[in-house]
């Protein structure tokens, strides 16, 4: 039971940290923030690899794991690339004349 308790503390601290960090993101970058955090949530790929890579897995497990790997990888790749594509467009061409 101890490891779950520890996990809950980790969860709580990470959630507060995320909250504080995201609060400071300017509305200018809300769309890239969302697609970046979406790409990060594709960390599910770790679980997908673990489940489909284990020894003597049943066909069902392998099949579910395989589809999960495809979905999560798609999420990672599309998420990061689209974020980068968006951010490349944000340019500050001229200094503020105010």
């Amino acid at each position: 039971m101890q490891s779950y308790e520890f996990g809950l503390y980790v969860f709580m601290l990470a959630a507060f940290l995320g909250f504080e960090l995201c609060k400071r993101v300017s509305p200018l970058l809300h769309t890239p923030l969302m697609s970046l955090s979406n790409a990060i949530s594709a960390i599910a790929v770790v679980g997908a690899i673990l489940i489909s890579g284990e020894k003597d897995a049943s066909t069902l497990t392998r099949a579910l794991g395989f589809v999960a790997v495809v979905c999560a990888t798609l999420n990672v790749v599309a998420g990061y690339l689209i974020t980068d594509r968006m951010l490349r467009m944000f340019r500050k061409r001229e200094p503020d004349k105010k």
Binding site: L21, T31, L33, I40, A57, D84
Partner: protein, 458 residues
């Protein structure tokens, strides 16, 4: 040996994710944030592949290959106006991955009752409902489905019953060994609830819902972390969960509404009756020629873009207008309402795509004080976010919503297809003011017309 290195790799990956979110707060460091996030993900994948319990590589590598082969072209080929759809689709895939892994874990039959099973229930419930909800959101944004809210009598009761049933079965699985039909029934209810959640959501509420689904996908990943006892998953999931949550809170505030109201309010329906009672009133209209000469004699212009700009793909023409006016020494700024468009920050991305410098894109609080000293407010495809009724009419359903004070500018010009009311179904007082000119037409063509006139008169 490898057992000692693996925790370090996971720890570094977590640091990468945290820095990625941190550096996102400033356009100058944001791209660095993406790179560190990518490194974090790469470390996480490598660290997982190296784990001793992972022995069967073939299908993993094929899966990684297929996922990349579909994901990369998707990210590069989608036009920028389709970013909301792409994000919704991406949420669907991530959530589905979590849900399927949870399902696989469940059928392995090794998850103990109590806390671990509880985490698995949360993971699969959020995973499956986010999958279908995101697919419906995608279909609505891509206009494969009507974007208007779809409602029927007793909808909220039915939806909540489905959710309650799913939670009851989930609770049962946590407390005691449930019969074989329980899990499939649970999954079916979760999938169904996801559909029911987004059906009644209209286009203008999409920013809130997409942010909320983003949050759910993160919490599902964190719950998986509890099932697999993997702290990296917990940290990444929690970061994503709080990012989505804070964005949806910002969106709700910008619309002066609560979560419950967005999810169960079915806004469009209630207010349609109010719109029907307004009589025809006279408006003043102008053609591109007249609009161009008004802009030509202005010294300061604030452009207010809305979803209509995205629909008409007018951002590049607006950029030409921006160039033409700036060349004449006219000060041009853009006022961005937090919920303009179909996802948080949507307008900023489109204007950045058209190469408009981001220091000209100002948020509501920064720019509202400037309107009284502005010669022309040019509204392009925005409606409810500039409706002065939100400030004055206590009986209006949008009363109290923070708006851009376009009506306080000396002259207001509104590019709009017709006089039809916006998403909220409320007549816009702005259109009938004495200092307002309506410019009827397609946003892209009309702006092109103005640019042509400006070039000719130079």
């Amino acid at each position: 040996m490898i057992e000692n290195v693996l925790p370090a790799i996971y720890l570094l990956a977590s640091v990468g994710f945290i820095l990625a979110v941190k550096w996102m707060n400033n356009p100058a460091t944001a791209r660095r944030g993406v790179i560190i996030g990518e490194i974090g993900m790469l470390l996480a994948v490598i660290g997982t592949l190296l784990r001793p319990e992972v022995v069967e590589y073939r299908w993993i590598l094929i899966g990684l290959g297929i996922g990349s082969a579909i994901g990369a072209p998707l990210a590069y080929l989608m036009p920028m106006t389709a970013v909301p759809q792409l994000t919704a689709l991406s949420h669907a895939f991530g959530a589905m991955a979590s849900a399927l892994i949870g399902t696989a874990e469940f059928y392995k039959g090794v998850i103990p009752l109590g806390f671990p099973m509880g985490a698995l229930v949360v993971e699969t419930l959020l995973g499956f409902l986010t999958t279908t909800a995101s697919i419906i959101a995608f279909a609505k944004l891509q206009e494969l489905m009507p974007t208007r809210p779809m409602t029927y009598k007793g909808q909220n009761v039915v939806s909540l019953s489905v959710l309650t049933a799913a939670i009851v079965i989930g609770g049962w699985m946590v407390a005691a060994p449930a019969p074989a039909w329980a899990y499939p029934a649970f999954v079916a209810l979760a999938l169904l609830f996801g559909i029911m959640l987004v059906m009644p959501i209209g286009g203008a509420d999409m920013p809130t819902v997409i942010a909320l689904l983003n949050s759910y996908a993160g919490v599902a990943a964190a719950a998986m972390g509890f099932v697999l006892n993997n702290r990296l998953l917990i940290i990444a999931g929690a970061l994503n969960g709080s990012a989505g949550l804070i964005l949806s809170i910002i969106m709700c505030k910008a619309m002066n509404r609560s979560f419950t109201n967005v999810l169960f309010g079915a806004f469009g329906q209630i207010t349609a009756a109010v719109a029907g009672t307004t009589a025809q009133r006279p408006v003043r209209s102008a053609n591109p020629d007249e609009a161009a000469s008004i802009l030509d004699s202005a010294r300061s212009v604030i452009v207010i873009p809305g979803y209509g700009m995205a629909v008409a793909q007018a951002q590049h023409k607006i950029r030409e207008l921006y160039d033409a006016l700036t060349k004449r020494g006219i000060d041009v700024k853009f006022a961005i309402h937090p919920v303009a468009g179909r996802m948080p920050g949507h307008m900023n991305v489109l204007l950045a795509e058209a190469d408009i410098p981001y220091d000209k894109l100002l948020e509501m609080d920064e720019i509202n004080g400037d309107f009284p000293n502005t010669d022309v407010a040019l509204v392009i495809g925005a409606n409810d976010v500039v409706n002065p009724l939100a400030r004055t009419d206590k009986t209006s359903p949008i009363y109290g919503t923070p708006i851009l004070d376009a009506d306080r500018a000396r002259t207001v010009m509104v590019i709009k297809r017709s006089m039809s009311p916006g998403f909220a179904g409320i007549d816009n007082e702005l259109y009938y003011m004495n200092n307002t000119l309506m410019l009827f037409g397609d946003a892209k063509n009309f702006v092109a017309g103005i640019v042509k006139e400006l070039a000719g008169s130079h």
